[in-house]
């Protein structure tokens, strides 16, 4: 998922490293390469799920519902430059759509439910995005903050439909018989399989989108608005599209969340959820899909770990439940002060610097090598 490698005008990766998958014939096509990667990843996950006990499997299912939301947010913030504190609220939209459909409509295939959740969340994203497209930085943060704080109130107001404070119970989809025969899994781990399939589909679509014209336009808009406009990019349109795509991802996440947790309630979609998503993208590195996966894994496994440490220190349950948000907040502050590029960004920068200094060294060693080294000088920016 080396999505951040910039392309030369011909569309071929500018990186001089031609090893790995890119070296194989027929894998010059980015889409094919990503497809292969995702298939391999899914096989790995399936093997992992077979080996894990049900508790770990359910944790993996939680990673699966975070991934689409975090990936969507990292694309919006890291590549289009728009910050959103409202992605928890957008997840709530997806979760409630799922809950209502599963409750009111009998026998609807789960795929249809997810698509409906994506559709509804995208519509909300379109409305919010249209307003957000004109805002930047603190204004955008404030407006989406209001969204995050306000949306749970809607669930309480429409008590008839959305179940008020108690929320809606969600009947998760049953696993088909052939699936149980094939994997020997229970219906509980079934959700982990489904969730990871959906998460990888989202990652696949996003990684291709980022390598396409749309992704390049988003980066152009983020980096220099005037230059982007001169190049014929419609700023507002580009921003709205980015927001809708990001909201659609949050919709997938919400649908998965509702089925895994088996509940859609206002208490689940607090401001803290939105801010943990932000923490995940900052830790992983803004704009990196790999970073989004790492961030999601950390969110799921770091939370209980920190809560346990809290209990170990003799804190009460409520107190230890707050250790994780405390650490998330501190991590946000410290990372922004020390390593604003996040995990993946910092590692990439280090690799690039090493590569460049090595190139400079080869340049110095001999004039006969100068030409060859000169060809490699086009390092990705």
């Amino acid at each position: 998922m080396s999505t951040a490698i910039t392309s030369t005008p011909t569309g071929r990766p500018a990186s001089s490293r031609s090893g790995g998958l890119k070296g194989l014939p027929g894998l010059r096509s980015t889409a094919l390469r990503h497809l292969l990667l995702m298939a391999l990843a899914y096989i790995g996950i399936v093997l992992l799920l077979q080996a894990l006990d049900p508790f770990r499997a359910s944790q993996l299912a939680s990673v699966a519902y975070f991934i689409p939301a975090v990936a969507g947010l990292t694309v919006l913030t890291g590549l289009n430059g728009q910050i959103s504190l409202g992605h928890g609220a957008l997840m709530a939209v997806g979760a409630y759509t799922t809950a209502v459909l599963l409750e009111r409509v009998e026998g609807l295939p789960f795929v249809v439910v997810v698509l409906a959740a994506v559709l509804v969340t995208s519509l909300v994203g379109l409305i919010v995005g249209a307003a957000a497209a004109r805002l930047h930085g603190p204004y955008l943060a404030g407006a989406t903050l209001a969204l995050a704080v306000g949306v749970p109130g809607l669930a309480i107001y429409f008590e008839e439909l959305l179940g008020g404070e108690q929320g809606l119970r969600v009947q998760p989809p049953q696993s088909p018989e052939w699936f149980e025969q094939l994997t020997g899994a229970t219906s509980r781990t079934f959700l982990a399989y489904v969730g990871w399939a959906l998460a990888l589909v989202v990652l696949f679509l996003l990684s291709n989108l980022l390598n396409s014209r749309v992704g390049r336009q988003w980066r152009a808009v983020r980096d220099d608005e005037v230059a982007a406009q001169l190049a014929g990019i419609d700023l507002g349109r580009s921003r709205v599209v980015a927001f809708v795509v990001s909201a659609a991802c949050a919709g997938v996440a919400g649908a998965l969340y509702a089925t895994v947790i088996r509940l859609a309630a206002p208490g689940s979609f607090t401001l803290v959820l939105s801010l943990s998503l932000l923490t995940a993208i900052v830790i992983g590195g803004l704009g990196s899909l790999l970073g989004a996966v790492i961030g999601s894994v950390l969110l799921v496994f770091l939370g209980p770990f920190l809560t346990d440490r809290g209990t170990g220190l003799g804190l009460s349950d409520i107190q230890s439940a707050n250790v994780a948000p405390l650490v998330y907040g501190l991590v946000l502050v410290v990372l922004m002060l020390v390593a604003p590029r996040g995990l993946v960004g910092t590692v990439r920068l280090k690799l690039l610097q090493r590569q460049m200094s090595r190139q400079r060294a080869t340049q110095r060693t001999g004039d006969q090598n100068a030409q060859a080294a000169g060809d490699q000088q086009q390092t990705p920016s």
Binding site: Y139, L275, L332, V333
Partner: protein, 292 residues
């Protein structure tokens, strides 16, 4: 009719507090072009400090002074240690830093003081006023809130208008380079601005908590309202912040009274979006055109 009147009075009281909160956001934004999203959390924390004193039998005045002083110090600390390094960087970094602080302080308060709602005793009576046979819902506590905000805003205005220090603060906010050339210690002025904002925020937090329930997350809604009020006023106008605060207070009171209290934040969001789309500079902005 009495109901409407009481809702309006309640709105003005709320509005006074929101105005105070909006003022401290404006104070910081003028100087550093940063919205301090942690302002509400800072105020919540100092309110808890005051509550500890009050529940241990100390008089309200002592608690008030402690809250204001700790708010002042906390504001200065936040600017000097945490925000200073990201002040000149991309604006998204500053946003993320203040948000991280917001989460961290809230969680810390929940660990130290517990997560449940607590009742802050009203410093003044909670009996309504009776004027000409009509019962008005303007309690002694409400009158105290309004007067406290007016006095504090007056003092702030006087500081900025009539003192040498105020002039230096304004100069540092107006143009850092020029101010520096004229011998203003700009760094110190920025710290002082954040400290004053912390003090003002503490006052707002204490006024909201007094006579009602509070918890580590009770300022979340206030941050939204204060931010909306500040944007309504153009983010760099003190007068605008006050008017914005009153508008927001009245909106909240009327929406809660006639529609539903769960929709109050969505109403604020609607106002915010409308203002940003129709008059991005706010209603009272001094600058003609600004990107929002």
């Amino acid at each position: 009719m009495t109901r409407l009147l009481n809702l309006l009075l309640n709105g003005v009281t709320l509005g006074a507090v929101y105005a105070a909160f909006a003022l401290c956001l404006v104070l910081i934004f003028r100087a550093t072009r940063i919205i301090n999203f942690a302002q509400g959390a800072q105020a919540m924390f100092t309110t808890y400090l005051a509550y500890q004193l009050v529940s241990n039998g100390q008089p309200y005045v002592v608690a008030l002074v402690v809250a204001l002083v700790s708010g002042f110090l906390l504001g200065a600390f936040v600017e000097r240690v945490i925000v200073r390094p990201v002040e000149s960087g991309p604006e998204i970094n500053a946003v993320i830093v203040t948000l991280g602080l917001f989460v961290a302080i809230e969680a810390l308060a929940a660990i130290l003081f517990g997560n449940q709602f607590q009742s802050f005793p009203a410093p003044f009576g909670v009996d309504g006023l009776r004027v000409g046979g009509v019962d008005l819902a303007l309690t002694g506590n409400d009158r105290y809130r309004i007067v406290a905000v007016l006095v504090a805003a007056g003092l702030l205005l006087a500081l900025f208008r009539f003192t040498n220090l105020g002039l230096r603060l304004r100069a540092a906010a107006f143009g850092q380079e020029v101010a520096r050339l004229l011998g203003v210690r700009v760094g110190r002025m920025l710290t002082l601005g954040w400290a004053l904002a912390g003090l003002f925020g503490s006052l707002a937090g204490l006024l909201i908590a007094g006579g009602s329930l509070f918890s580590p997350s009770y300022m979340q809604g206030v941050v939204v309202f204060g931010f909306t009020a500040a944007v309504l006023g153009g983010l760099d106008s003190f007068g605008g912040a006050v008017v914005g605060g009153l508008v927001l207070g009245l909106t909240q009171s009327l929406v809660a009274g006639y529609v539903a209290s769960s929709l109050v934040t969505m109403a604020a969001l609607a106002i915010l979006i409308l203002v940003l789309l129709l008059r991005p500079g706010g209603l009272f902005s001094s600058s003609v055109a600004r990107r929002v």
